[in-house]
């Protein structure tokens, strides 16, 4: 256990150092643009897994949380010119509050009813933002980036590093939850909620904790997107594609272990980036669908499920 923790934090530090170093070594900016999108999907799918995988509550509202993150940042920049770390921190707080509210309203529903409720929440929030003229409303809003801070040469390089830090934070949280009493409780309620309740697992409290953390991470992942695009419009920020892609990434990677969504997001994120610039974006969505069907049929536990089957004693 202790050796595992040392390996994890060592790898995290190496990963961040590599990103930092790449800002010096890699001159071609495209890799940062593409890398940013992939890292953003890793945070989103890890966050999704906390509620969707550990607790088994399939959330279609990723785009709602992501969009709220984007618009929180837009609001903070246009109202008070807040710096990037403040934008992310406040977006995480807003996401946590939203997660708590959404959880209270919807977590008494189960299965498909919960999923439908999360779609409804996306639509409600998108409609509210669309009618919020101070935030640009339906016309969208352009914001200006402040100058980049050293040691980065361009703002996108800095955003990639920030998103990488978010990846480490989200994976660390997911890893902690998985190995703690929260993870064990969530696993119990995923397998049989009634039985878990009867044996004394505080199911609603655990689900609320999962919802709050998942929401906070999703909103935090959305906040830098405002600076990445320097433009926000409701149709793009609340695009249902985020929900679908993130769900596919988590399911394809596997939802029982924190590494699952990381693998899924890297695999699908890279595939999407490659397909967008080689064949077409339309094929990209088709590939997502086909892969999802193949995995649901052939590997219902995702990629990590395939490895587990080979090594049944594999440790979580």
């Amino acid at each position: 256990m202790k050796r595992n923790a040392i390996a994890f934090w060592g790898a995290s530090v190496l990963f961040l150092a590599a990103i930092l170093l790449s800002a010096e070594l890699v001159a071609n900016e495209y890799w940062f643009f593409a890398g940013y999108v992939i890292l953003q999907f890793i945070v989103l799918s890890v966050a999704w897994t906390i509620l969707g995988g550990y607790a088994g509550y399939v959330n279609f509202g990723t785009s709602a949380f992501f969009g709220v993150g984007v618009y929180t940042a837009v609001f903070l920049v246009s109202a008070v010119g807040a710096p990037l770390p403040v934008q992310i921190a406040i977006a995480a707080v807003v996401g946590a509050i939203l997660g708590f509210a959404v959880g209270l309203l919807t977590l008494r529903m189960q299965g498909i009813f919960f999923s439908i409720a999360t779609i409804a929440i996306t639509i409600i929030i998108e409609t509210a933002v669309t009618n919020w003229r101070e935030l640009g409303g339906a016309a969208g809003i352009q914001i200006q980036r402040p100058p980049v801070t050293a040691p980065f040469h361009t703002y996108v390089q800095m955003l990639v590093f920030v998103q990488a830090v978010l990846v480490v934070i989200s994976v660390a949280i997911a890893r902690y939850m998985q190995n703690s009493w929260i993870g064990r409780g969530l696993q119990a309620l995923r397998d049989d909620e009634l039985a878990a309740e009867c044996t004394g697992v505080p199911t609603l409290r655990l689900k609320l904790i999962a919802c709050v953390i998942s929401g906070a991470l999703m909103c935090a992942a959305g906040a830098p997107a405002a600076m990445y695009l320097q433009y926000a419009d409701p149709a793009s920020a609340f695009n249902l594609n985020y929900s679908v892609s993130v769900l596919a990434m988590a399911l394809i990677g596997g939802t029982a272990h924190w590494i699952g969504p990381v693998i899924g997001a890297i695999l699908l994120g890279v595939t999407q980036q490659v397909l967008t610039v080689t064949i077409s974006s339309e094929v990209n969505v088709l590939v997502l669908g086909v892969m999802l069907v193949l995995f649901v049929v052939g590997a219902p536990e995702g990629i990590i499920g395939l490895f587990k089957r080979r090594r049944p004693e594999g440790k979580a």
Binding site: N28, F33, A138, G140, R145, L229, A235, S236, N239, S281
Partner: protein, 414 residues
């Protein structure tokens, strides 16, 4: 005999390969862009791209630019703001394109402006609306005929006020383009002390408009400014035809997107009569410049197999004009130097198939060339009627005027 034939063939072969090699020594000039080929803006993105492709084929038939062939590098941005930054970064850093065109529409264009400015690249805009107003990129040139931000609403309200309009109603879709139009309309009405007696925005995908139209006609406006998207434009006109908008309405329309696209117009037929709406190009006398007719002949041939708008008035000729703008600048400056190209486009007036184009300091047109035209004498189920003059009579700009306004609106509908 045989040997001579062989020798002849060999010499010809070597000759051809040498010519081929000479051509290959000169790599093509790459023009990069993303285009909404799927998603909400695809209906406009496809004809726009076809216009650009026709220009590419024309210029390559004439030997290309600077003696080099022109090659287009195009990716689909799904009509989304989230896709275009990575695509333009790839165009610049991996594909190493020489020149950039913007995608069709404001949403995918807005997020690439900072990158393009940072890299000091010329960007030929494609029908976006005021994306450069905050960024102030001095190498931005929008091909759209919009002109100054308020010109659109001013032209429509001018016509309405001349027809005796004293009050105004505003009906707009909750979407990007429509809201931009509504915002400028409010500002212009405010400056002219024109009271807005009805101001309503409706959610996208609304299909049933009878209650909204009833509320609108109860406010008894003289001028009705509608900023709508294709599906709702149809719904609004259907509701108007069933319920009517009242006898005091002198002018109806202004910013209805969709009434420029062939299939939509053909489907709406006689419902269109009387509507005064914006457009960019129409087959009216005075709209034909050098090459315009040849372009539409070629477009008509290629549109049907390409499954795009068979008329293509709205966007396609402007795609071609984007090419003409860049070709004029590259040829005149004899270089691909971005600063030189930008300087040329700022200082010169370029002749294109949609008329002469001159830019103001912000990269928008110096003068608006957005048309306001009234549908007159339209019958049902006939797309070819729109190719003839007199069906969409130009009321603005004055120098292109091709007929008179029929008013009030209820009279014009008959």
């Amino acid at each position: 005999m045989k040997r001579r034939t062989f020798l002849g063939a060999a010499i010809t072969g070597i000759g051809v390969s040498l010519i081929g090699k000479a051509g290959a020594d000169q790599p093509p000039i790459k023009i990069g862009m993303s285009m909404p080929l799927t998603g909400g803006l695809a209906g406009g993105g496809k004809p726009s791209l076809l216009g650009i492709e026709i220009w590419r084929d024309d210029i390559n038939a004439k030997g290309g630019m600077l003696g080099r062939k022109v090659e287009l590098v195009v990716y689909d941005d799904k009509s989304s703001a989230a896709e275009s930054p990575a695509i333009y970064s790839k165009l610049l850093d991996i594909d190493k394109v020489d020149l950039l065109f913007a995608p069709y529409g404001t949403v995918p264009t807005a997020p690439i402006m900072p990158l393009v400015k940072q890299r000091g690249m010329v960007l030929i805009g494609n029908f976006s609306f005021q994306v450069n107003s905050k960024i102030h990129h001095d190498m931005w040139f929008n091909n759209a005929p919009w002109g100054p931000a308020d010109a659109w609403a001013s032209a429509f309200l001018d016509i309405g006020q001349k027809a005796g309009g004293k009050t105004m109603a505003l009906l707009s879709a909750d979407q990007e383009f429509a809201q931009n139009l509504a915002k400028t309309a409010r500002e212009v009405a405010g400056k002219r002390n024109l009271p807005i007696v009805f101001d309503q925005a409706y959610p996208p995908n609304t299909v049933e408009f009878s209650s909204i139209i009833r509320a609108l006609s109860a406010a008894k406006p003289d001028i009705v400014y509608v900023a709508s998207y294709p599906p709702d434009s149809a719904g609004i006109l259907r509701a108007v035809s069933e319920i009517g908008v009242g006898d005091n309405v002198k002018l109806f329309g202004g910013g209805m997107v969709g009434l420029q696209f062939g299939p939509v117009m053909a489907k709406m037929g006689s419902l269109l009569n009387g509507v005064v709406n914006f457009n960019t190009w129409l087959p009216e006398p005075g709209m034909y410049y050098d090459g315009t007719k040849a372009f539409f002949d070629e477009y008509s041939k290629r549109a049907v197999p390409a499954k795009v708008d068979p008329l293509g008035f709205y966007l396609a000729p402007f795609g071609y004009a984007s090419g003409q703008l860049i070709a004029a600048a590259v040829t005149a400056t004899k270089s691909l130097d971005q600063k030189a190209i930008a300087k040329y486009l700022h200082e010169s007036e370029v002749k294109t198939i949609v008329g002469p184009i001159a830019f103001s300091a912000d990269g928008e047109r110096k003068e608006t060339a957005t048309l306001q035209a009234q549908f007159q004498g339209i019958v049902d189920n006939n797309i070819d009627q729109f190719k003839k003059p007199g069906k969409q009579v130009i009321l603005f700009p004055e120098k292109l005027k091709s007929g008179n306004l029929i008013t009030p609106f209820e009279a014009a509908r008959k």
